[in-house]
Amino acid sequence: MADPEIKSYEPHHESQSAAVTESRPARVALMTVAFTFLGIFLLLPLIIVFNEALAKGVGAYTQSLSDPDARSAIRLTLLVAAISVPLNIVFGISAAWAIAKFEFKGKAFLTTLIDLPFSVSPVISGLVYVLLFGAQGLLGGWLKAHGIVILFAVPGIVLATVFVTFPFVARELIPLMQEQGNGDEEAALSLGANGWQTFWYVTLPNVKWGLLYGVLLCNARAMGEFGAVSVVSGHIRGLTNTMPLHVEILYNEYNAVGAFAVASLLAGLALVTLVLKTLLEMRYGAEIAATRGH
């Protein structure tokens, strides 16, 4: 078992030998390529989003955001994230615990299954739900008979979002928990702690940074998901439109300011996520590096 405590928490100060240090022109060239690329493909679009959103002034911008349909889209997006992120935290911790802490049949299968949402197009994930819950779908008749509406309603959107985002927390925790092994849990049990106390006082603190990281990414994806949600939502304005869907509708109606105003919120969310992630890494970088598996 690798002992994480022996591992140095110091950041690595790599002393480069003269042999592998590039010449000055080479370094300048590499950095120029990297920054130019990022500038054109990431920074420029971001600036354009905010630029377009504010093209007709702050008044038009705030008006677009206070439009009832826009507000309903924002509310729905927050609601979907508020449901699917906690669900995926529970699922992610359970799956990671099962895979990392004990042996069972079908473990390799479960591990592969967790990656499925990453390997399948989100549109397909959406279609699966249509086939399953749609009027002509497998469970459609039964659902209709019992008056349960899933498709083209909030439950369908939540399901699609949960499906698309469920790898984030689990993928973050599995390597972490595998690396940490069972030693700390055994110690806690031998000291008389019950399962819940062991989880709460020992396991959770050991994985908290990885968990936070996973939750952050999961949340960003949950709010930004387009493909799967688009298939199951039905695009009912003011009812089943999330922010990404609302952006598309406005854009297709040539309402650039409205589309970009809502888009700027999503871009803002991305920026906040990045800043939080960077802050986490700055504040707890060494700890995260030491406890993260990759």
Partner: protein, 346 residues
């Protein structure tokens, strides 16, 4: 607390790690489980702790059958090789953990837990480090904290899994002496696992030598070293040399010559002769001795170790000579083992 292991068998995926092991541990005893890796010593320790359940057999704490009790109910102090300290808790919180997770009236107030923690830190000679985190301690200090944490719950039995395995030689020796002192002061029944025979022989009241999932021998350091009861124990404990010999009419023969050792009670037939390299008598002439050609000679600390080729079968044995002994310069050396033991060849 007396601990009795009764006919315990343990299988992992149908692969037996322990075969029918029985062991009586007296109250207040310091006992070592010694063996090479894969001998089952750690499995036995984990079975006593309740970290594993036996496939067959029972484990008694006193008169009470503990086999079906969970690790929480057994109230054992377990010290892990890699300490397993909770890295996000201070030293004081680590030590107090076992008391903090108790329920109801058996849980002491926070102030009392803090007091117990500093008391135990005094005992393990780390006073003043309450607020440190495990990452800020040296390996030896971490292991002391781990021991203090295990003792905080006033365990019936203290179990240590290779407690000094991850430490360097100097710290190991220091902690060994210190563990003995703590044991003598507190009187806990203590079982520790080690693959280091020096550690086992020096520290333990009794040593349990294990091999391939079985107990080979249980005894004091003197018993184990002076009267090993199997070829494995003879070979595993201390230095040993062995030669294939034959017993005939109560005499030991090497190839076609008697070597001057009488074995009146041994049955005739093939056997293996074991002796200690340092326990030999050098002889000048050779009528009834083991004689060999010097194949190699090495200086090892205070002695000289000489490798001898014996007879035509290319058998090699090692003996130890005083550094300035003239025999080391010769090309041929004759000797007779002082203390020795025969095991019939199976």
């Amino acid at each position: 607390m007396e601990v009795r292991v009764a006919n315990v068998r343990k299988e992992f995926d149908r692969f037996p790690a322990l075969h029918d092991v029985s062991l009586d541990i007296k109250s207040g005893e310091l006992i070592a489980l010694l063996g090479p890796s894969g001998s089952g010593k750690t499995t036995l320790l984990r079975l006593i702790a309740g970290l594993e359940r036996p496939t067959r057999g029972k484990i008694f704490f006193g008169d009470e059958d503990a086999s079906q009790r969970s690790i929480q109910e057994r109230n054992v102090g377990f010290v892990f090789q890699h300490y397993a300290l909770f890295r996000h808790m201070t030293v004081a919180d680590n030590i107090g953990f076992g008391l903090k997770v108790r329920h109801g009236p058996s849980r002491p107030p926070a102030q009392e837990i803090r007091r117990r923690a500093s008391e135990l830190l005094d005992l393990v000679q780390l006073s003043g480090l309450e607020k440190r985190y495990p990452a800020q301690l040296s390996g030896g200090q971490r292991q002391r904290v781990a021991l203090a944490r295990a003792m905080a719950i006033e365990p019936k039995v203290l179990l240590l899994d290779e407690p000094f395995g991850a430490l360097d030689a100097q710290v190991r020796r220091e902690l060994r002496r210190w563990l003995r002192e703590i044991h003598d002061a507190t009187g806990h029944t203590t079982v520790f696992v080690t693959h280091d025979q020096e550690e086992a022989l020096e520290l333990a009241d009794r040593v349990v030598v294990m091999s391939q999932g079985r107990i080979e021998q249980v005894g004091t350091a003197d018993d184990i070293y002076d009267t090993p009861n199997s070829p494995f124990v003879y070979g595993f404990i201390g230095e040993s040399s062995s030669l294939p010999v034959k017993v005939e009419n109560g005499e030991i023969w090497l190839a076609d010559r008697p070597i001057g050792l009488a074995a009146p009670h041994e049955p005739s037939g093939d056997a293996t002769l074991f002796f200690r390299p340092h326990d030999v008598e050098l002889l000048d002439g050779c009528s009834g001795c083991i004689a060999g050609t010097v194949a190699a000679s090495r200086r090892v600390a205070g002695t000289r170790r000489v490798e001898l080729e014996i007879g035509g079968e290319r058998q090699r044995v090692e003996i130890e000579l005083p550094v300035d002994h003239p025999a080391a310069q010769k090309s041929r050396v004759a000797f007779r083992p002082g203390r020795w033991k025969l095991f019939p060849t199976a």
